[in-house]
């Protein structure tokens, strides 16, 4: 059984993948579904779901909740993916260098990484976004800054163990250059854990972004799920739906990414899966 069929036979992973595809479809179809700006007031304030023409009701200013969720999906996915890519760009090279060369370089890189792991990451993200002013850029930057340390640790560990693997030693003895060894012998063999980690990181980044915008640290020009939950908070008693539905959207997205990540992990490490089923 290869990795692909193993993934396909994992019910949770397929559900997750389905949810993700649905989300991507929503993002792509947003201009068709809700062509108007989600900030526009379109109806009576605090209209209940299904009452009137609004599927998920309206918020305190009469904006369509469903339109907000559809447009917010794009921001969530964008920030989740971009900040993960940035975190990988910081974390992978650092981990690779530390794990491959070892010694003093490794010591320095690991001390640096440990430092960033000790800092309460959410507090750091808040401080960074607040001081640089909330924009798409500062939010991506803040999330990347707090997410790279685990990547570095993972990659370092992989490099450390692969470096002493005999086929890497063999590559050294036949005279391959260091960059060639890193790119052809080691890096391809670390891809699987990187992919798994990246999918979980996107989930965490989306959670982080929504938490930031819940506290009012979202980009003021963008409609986001976290902002919607936060904005509905003051009227939670008489209009629960304003906060409820965006939260469900966050939950489903994060859940889907976790299910897919775990599915990939199980598919690529069948040994663990078997133990699971014992």
């Amino acid at each position: 059984m290869n990795a692909f069929t193993r993934f396909a036979s994992n019910r949770g992973a397929i559900v997750g993948l389905g949810l993700l595809l649905l989300l991507v479809a929503v993002v792509l179809l947003a201009p068709l579904l809700y062509p108007q700006s989600p900030w526009r007031m379109v109806g009576r304030p605090m209209g209940a779901p299904l009452a009137g023409s609004f599927l998920l009701g309206t918020d305190t200013l009469g904006r369509d909740v469903a339109a907000g969720i559809v447009h917010g999906a794009r921001v969530s996915l964008l920030i989740g993916v971009v900040s993960t890519v940035v975190a990988l760009l910081i974390g992978v090279p650092l981990g690779a260098v530390a794990g491959y060369f070892g010694g003093l370089i490794d010591d320095l890189v690991m001390r640096f990484t440990e430092f960033f792991q000790t800092i309460p990451s959410f507090a750091l993200a808040i401080v960074v976004v607040a001081i640089l002013q909330p924009t798409l850029l500062s939010i991506v930057l803040a999330i990347a800054i707090v997410s790279w340390p685990p990547v570095t640790r993972l990659i370092r560990g992989e490099f450390l163990s692969l470096r002493s693997r005999e086929y890497v030693q063999a590559a050294i003895t036949v005279g391959q250059s260091t960059p060639r060894i890193i790119f052809t012998q080691i890096l391809p063999n670390t891809l699987a854990p990187i992919i798994v980690m990246a999918s979980l990181m996107v989930a965490t980044a989306i959670l982080l972004e929504s938490s930031l915008s819940f506290l009012g640290l979202g980009d003021p020009n963008l409609m986001t799920w976290g902002y919607m939950v936060g904005a509905g908070r003051s009227r939670i008693i008489d209009a629960w739906w304003i906060s409820f539905f965006p939260g469900v959207a966050i939950f489903l997205t994060v859940l889907a990414l976790n299910l897919v990540g775990e599915g990939i992990n199980d598919a690529l490490n069948p040994r663990l899966r078997k133990e699971d089923r014992k």
Binding site: F115, V128, A130, I131, V229, I237, I250, V254
Partner: protein
């Protein structure tokens, strides 16, 4: 003797971390758009020229950068974290006043999540593949994927506004006039919901970790030995599997301390819990940057202490560590 040396070494490391955070704060202030003095004064103080001049004087803002850094660090070294113009109080006083509430909340959440997580994870691993395992793993995944602030809001609606079981917000009943035991019970009533919502996320993490760890240890050679001895499955699980499986969970719990503090910011915001997280949220709304950076610094210090505690626990539980160091 060995333990003392270890604690001192780790404390030294902690001091270095805090020093680095002070440096980070210094550069963050400079990275902000605008005059550093105005950033430190916050939105409220930025209009007061006398206060701004005083700040420029105190932090030597007209002198070279390294002298400014030195002035900034000297202030931090004496625990002078700045002055909140808005609140007309030193930042440290503001924080110290709010710190006990946060310690109570995070401490309770840490305890709940660790105990609950380990027990549930162990249970799931023992009954692997059966419905109770599926239930626990599914629940863990759900709580792991749900935004903390949203759970907090929803439990507020359900348990306090609709059902009326627990108080809605705050640390204690305002004007309740309780003293002694009554006051403690009142505070506990207020604590339950924030501590549980904050703890549940981490319960999910620890339960997943504990389950995986138990399954891994169950395949270890010494477990085979235990079976060969004719021990009962209950003894094997408790004495041989669980004790070894809990070690990585303790390490993880130490690493997660920073996240716990971050989670407290959201929980305190929703439940109006008068801790430093709530203080941070207020400072955010008022653009009171000195308070913001001060809370960041103190919460980092909390994490350093949390880490130290888990490391000491680990050292006591695992005999191998002492020998190798």
């Amino acid at each position: 003797m060995d333990l003392l040396r270890f604690v001192l070494m780790r404390l030294g490391k902690g001091v270095i971390v805090l020093f680095a955070i002070a440096v980070l704060n210094f550069f963050l202030v400079r990275a902000a758009p605008g005059d550093p003095a105005q950033v430190m004064a916050g939105e409220a103080g930025a209009g007061d020229e006398v206060f701004l001049d005083q700040l420029r004087q105190q932090f030597g803002l007209d002198r070279p950068l390294y002298e400014q850094l030195w002035a900034y660090l000297s202030n931090y070294a004496t625990l002078d974290l700045g002055f909140s113009y808005r609140q007309q109080q030193p930042v440290l006083d503001l924080i110290l006043e709010r710190l006990p509430a946060t310690l109570l909340l995070t401490g309770a959440a840490f305890f709940i999540s660790l105990v609950l997580g380990v027990v549930l994870g162990a249970l799931a691993a023992r009954r692997v593949g059966r419905w109770s395992d599926s239930a626990i793993t599914t629940l863990a995944l759900v709580f792991y994927a749900t935004p903390l602030f949203w759970i907090a809001l929803m439990s507020q609606i359900v348990f306090s506004l609709k059902l009326g079981w627990l108080p809605n917000v705050g640390f204690e009943t305002v004007g309740g006039g309780y003293t002694g035991i009554d006051r403690a019970l009142d505070i506990i009533q207020h604590l339950i919901m924030p501590a549980l919502t904050l703890g549940l996320f981490f319960t999910a993490i620890y339960a997943r970790m504990m389950r995986a760890s138990m399954l891994e240890v169950a395949g270890a050679d010494f477990v085979k030995t235990a079976y060969a001895k004719g021990l009962s499955p209950a003894v094997i699980t408790r004495r041989h599997i669980a004790r070894n499986a809990i070690l990585p969970v303790v390490t993880l719990a130490g690493l997660q301390a920073g996240q716990l503090v971050g989670g407290a910011i959201l929980t305190e915001t929703v439940f109006a819990w008068p801790g430093i997280g709530r203080l941070m949220f207020e400072a955010l709304a008022q653009r009171d940057y000195s308070v913001l950076l001060g809370v960041f610094f103190i919460s980092s210090a909390m994490v350093v202490i949390f880490n130290l505690v888990t490391d000491i626990i680990y050292r006591i539980v695992d005999p191998r560590i002492g020998a190798s160091a």
